[in-house]
């Protein structure tokens, strides 16, 4: 029982790190996705090509690789002072997730019918008014399900932080294999992930219900 307490405490400590990575990544990636989205929809071809190339590279390579490059790259390639492990994790995760989010935003924006824009235009509204007063909420409603998907993936992707030795919950679980030959703390980590993704699922359901008052 004492052991269970110790394990719980250690895992909880690791889970604190997990949550920190999770929330900071979201805080940066959700807004950062917007300029990337606008870049990949830009009428200015060079900008569009540049943005879409970045998105291609980021989506086309493993997040684990990006994590390693961000953490070791500056020091080994340019002899820059190393950044903190946590900072590297947040930076790599934010860029990676912003690229995925930007594509979700793009899909949402492009799925809104031209008629909604034109109705706003003939009523003399500005582009800004049309986007913020008419289009945005419809886009939010449409991107909620894919965003929920992506955000739940992020919960589990935080475990990749261990490759540059950030002590998140999986690292903690595994440490009991090494030190005490115990496998069950590993299974125990799953409980943390399940509970947290359960909370997120309920939260997303709530928001979807909130926006259920209109269609389209």
């Amino acid at each position: 029982m004492e052991l269970f307490g110790t394990v719980s405490l250690e895992l909880l400590r690791g889970f604190g790190q997990t949550l920190e990575i999770f929330f900071l990544t979201l805080a940066f990636a959700i807004p950062l996705g917007l300029p990337i989205c606008f870049g990949s929809m830009s009428k200015f071809l060079p900008l569009r090509i540049l943005t879409r190339s970045i998105v291609w590279v980021i989506r086309g390579t493993p997040l684990m690789l990006q994590l390693i490059v961000v953490f070791f790259g500056p020091g080994l390639l340019f002899s820059l002072p190393a950044m903190g492990r946590k900072e590297a994790v947040i930076l790599a995760f934010s860029i990676n997730y912003a690229c995925y989010f930007s594509e979700i935003y793009r899909g949402g924006i492009e799925s809104i019918s031209k008629g909604q824009y034109e109705a706003g235009q003939v009523l003399g509204l500005t582009q800004t008014q049309i986007f913020f007063r008419i289009i945005l909420l419809q886009v939010v409603k449409r991107v909620l399900p894919p965003m929920g998907n992506e955000i739940i993936t992020l919960v589990k992707d935080t475990s990749l932080a261990r490759v540059i030795a950030v002590y998140e919950v999986m690292w903690m679980g595994e440490s009991f294999i090494k030190s005490d030959g115990l496998i069950w703390p590993m299974f125990y980590t799953a409980v943390f992930y399940l509970l947290f993704s359960g909370v997120l699922t309920v939260l997303f359901d709530r928001i979807e219900q909130k926006l259920d008052y209109f269609r389209g």
């Binding site: 008629g115 909604q116 034109e118 003399g124 500005t126 007063r133 008419i134």
Partner: protein
């Protein structure tokens, strides 16, 4: 002085000429019906008038003032002279019926909140939808949605109100209610342009009828002239075909 004067509007999409020089003018309170087959340029003409398309050349003059194609702000100012009711209604999904009508006047600061609301309520009463003020668009029939769209366009008191096939997306039993609302607007001072396939409606509501073919005005005149004694052979053929045959 005419409310609206259109001179030599030309428009091509790529190498395809859609409007080949359109001229007409309208006096205050007149109703113009534009008829013609699909692809004859009717809708493009309305979209040019509402500055959703930029013509390659030509002039649009409202109340003696020539409108210029310029930056976004200029175009927005031009649009204020016109209203447009779309074939597919295009109500704003997330707003109630009342909010759909008040949104633009509110954002354009066309009066106090109370004035805008009172005006919107009056317009909704006029189109027979007072009891639907708090409904959302998806809860309405197509005919009701289109009547809201008409009220929404009227709320900005445009000098010329345009209708782009306002009943083409409706079930047959719902066209009547929309056409009656449009006819009721004629008694006011509203100058209107209606692109339509409803020949009977054009005949009894319009003051001027234009038959368009291949991007040109093939025939223009009073309903009697165009429908009863068309001068052009093309018009005759079109009108014969317009009566449902099977």
């Amino acid at each position: 002085m005419p409310v609206l004067e259109v001179t030599q509007i030309k428009k091509s999409f790529g190498s395809l000429p859609v409007l080949k020089g359109i001229d007409f003018s309208l006096e205050q309170g007149q109703v113009l019906a534009i008829i013609g087959s699909s692809g004859s340029g009717k809708t493009t003409l309305l979209r040019c008038l509402n500055f959703l398309e930029t013509p390659d050349s030509g002039e649009i003059t409202v109340n003696g003032q020539r409108l210029l194609w310029g930056n976004e702000a200029q175009i927005r100012k031009n649009r204020i002279h016109f209203g447009l009711v779309f074939q597919s209604f295009n109500l704003f999904h997330q707003y109630t019926v009342l909010e759909n009508v008040t949104l633009a006047p509110t954002l354009l600061k066309r009066g106090t909140k109370e004035e805008i609301r009172a005006n919107a309520e009056q317009l909704l009463a006029q189109v027979g939808l007072s009891n639907k003020q708090d409904a959302y668009p998806y809860q309405l029939s197509g005919g009701q949605q289109q009547r809201v769209a008409i009220a929404r366009a009227l709320a900005l008191q445009p000098e010329v109100l345009c209708f782009d096939e306002p009943t083409s997306a409706l079930d047959p039993e719902l066209t009547g209610e929309v056409l009656r609302v449009i006819r009721s607007l004629k008694s006011g001072r509203n100058t209107m342009i209606v692109v339509t396939h409803e020949m009977e409606f054009a005949k009894c509501v319009a003051d001027v009828v234009i038959y368009m073919a291949d991007g040109k005005i093939e025939e223009i005149g009073t309903p009697e002239e165009v429908f009863d004694s068309p001068r052009s052979e093309k018009t005759r053929t079109f009108l014969r075909g317009a009566h449902t045959k099977f």
